[in-house]
């Protein structure tokens, strides 16, 4: 079965190539001197021109792609304590503040574990637990998708601090790629056409927790913490 499946595309391709050659050779038939040929070509050109007109009336993204912002968007330096959290304020999304008077806390996930988040912990001298969530923009094919991400949520019940992970959102989209002749006179024609690296810009996420030093931290399975200070 797998052999048939692997050979099938080649057979289909072969059939298509043979069909194209047959069509081309038939087209070469000199008997066809009638005006029918001109009508076929003329009709096709009219359809193409109509499609050009219709295309410019389609309400859609008629502008160039949104450029993913340049500069540092990697939040790992904050995660590993190399940079202060203030340096990523522009990516701040949401914050939570819980007063807490117990000696220990257990941090766990709830929801879809596939959507876990990087967690940085800063030990503080206060008496409340603070959480701040940071998200850098996500782009796919030049479109910003950050707004489609469902936010995480925090819950504190007894001595359990739960990070509510969002359910996965499914996005289907149709993308187009410009044909290589259109990019021939760009700076790097073939690389632009073949390269896929710029199509996705995944951004970064960080949950920054500020937990008083006196509180002992325990983690549930799948929860990994990075301490930015001791």
């Amino acid at each position: 079965m797998s052999v048939v499946a692997s050979v099938l595309p080649f057979i289909i391709l072969l059939i298509i190539i043979v069909a194209v050659i047959v069509v081309v050779l038939r087209g070469f038939n000199r008997v066809n001197i009638t005006r029918k040929g001109y009508w076929i070509l003329g009709g096709y050109v009219i359809v193409l021109l109509l499609s050009v007109v219709i295309y410019y009336f389609i309400p859609g993204p008629k502008e160039e792609s949104q450029q993913a912002p340049t500069g540092r968007q990697d939040l790992s330096e904050v995660l590993y304590g190399e940079l202060p959290v203030e340096s990523i304020n522009e990516y701040f999304e949401e914050e939570w503040d819980f007063s807490y008077d117990k000696d220990s806390i257990q941090i766990g996930y709830k929801g879809d574990l596939n959507n876990s988040v990087s967690i940085a912990v800063e030990r503080t001298d206060g008496n409340s637990i603070k959480a701040a969530f940071y998200q850098t923009p996500i782009y796919a094919s030049g479109i910003e998708l950050t707004e489609h991400i469902k936010p995480i949520d925090m819950q504190l019940s007894e001595d359990r601090f739960l990070i509510n992970l969002p359910e996965t959102v499914h996005l289907d989209f149709t993308s187009f790629r410009k044909e290589f002749p259109l990019l021939q006179f760009k700076d790097s024609p073939n690389e632009d056409w073949m390269g896929d690296s710029e199509r996705f810009h995944w951004g970064d996420q960080l949950l920054y927790l500020q937990i008083p030093r006196e509180i002992e931290i325990k983690t549930e399975m799948d929860v990994y913490l990075e301490y930015v200070n001791k």
Partner: protein, 248 residues
């Protein structure tokens, strides 16, 4: 024998006029080939899925590369077919010689390339309109949906040049195969053998040739390279065709 002396230009123009009518099938086959290619493109040229931060992205990619590939095949096959003995004989229905016949064939291929190049690039619009209205109506649309008019114009220039180039090579190969009965069989083997030998002797030579033509971003140099090579191929074909049977 006619008492009228006609200049080469007049003969070529007359022949071209005749061939434009006689070979209208060439253009209707272009339409069929491109319609087939557009229909095949409607299935999408690729798809992918990625998942991160609670986003699962499935994308279907559409591009017009089928039309480009099929149009290359179309012009290449027609260029070869024009050199067959039967077609050459038909070229002498009017007052002509090898030179005028070859020049009119070259002009016809040039016209075919221009029409093929324009329709190829414009079929990108057709694909986008069909996909938008009939395929994934309410789906997210990526950014290369947008066709800047300048890029379209550049695309037409590039595509026409590719086709002129491909047709000149096809025409030259066609003439070469007419020199000897064995050549239609031997020529592909000789060509592939030469390419392999060239690649072994100078590693990366094939790539360098590709870069010489396809990495050229200056419009004038690009036209010089492609059209210049096409002219060389056509001239070589004309010179070689003089070695074919003499037609008085």
């Amino acid at each position: 024998m006619s008492l009228n002396r006609m200049g080469l230009g007049t003969v070529v123009a007359k022949q071209l006029q005749y061939k434009m009518k006689a070979y209208i099938g060439v253009f209707s086959s272009l339409v069929l080939v491109q319609v087939i290619a557009v229909l095949l493109s409607l299935g999408g040229n690729g798809s992918g899925s990625s998942s991160i931060y609670g986003l699962s992205i499935n994308s279907t990619l559409y591009m017009n590369v089928n039309v480009i590939a099929f149009t290359f095949m179309w012009i290449f096959i027609h260029a070869i077919m024009m050199t067959t003995k039967a077609e050459r004989e038909n070229g002498f229905s009017f007052v002509s010689n090898q030179l005028s016949n070859n020049i009119s064939n070259s002009c016809l291929l040039l016209i075919a390339s221009i029409i093929g190049g324009i329709t190829t690039i414009l079929s990108g619009y057709l694909l986008r309109v069909i996909v938008y209205f009939f395929i994934d109506v309410d789906l997210f649309i990526g950014t290369e949906f947008y066709y800047p008019p300048v890029e379209v114009l550049q695309g037409i220039i590039a595509m026409v040049s590719y086709l002129v180039f491909a047709s000149s090579i096809g025409y030259l190969l066609g003439i070469i195969t007419q020199l000897n009965r064995m050549l239609p069989v031997l020529l592909p083997i000789i060509l592939i053998g030469m390419l392999i030998a060239m690649e072994r002797a100078w590693q990366g030579a094939f790539l360098k040739i590709g870069e010489f033509y396809f990495q050229e971003t200056n419009v004038f140099l690009f036209l010089f390279k492609f059209i210049g090579t096409a002219v060389i191929c056509f001239v070589a074909a004309i010179l070689l065709s003089n070695r074919l049977e003499v037609r008085k």
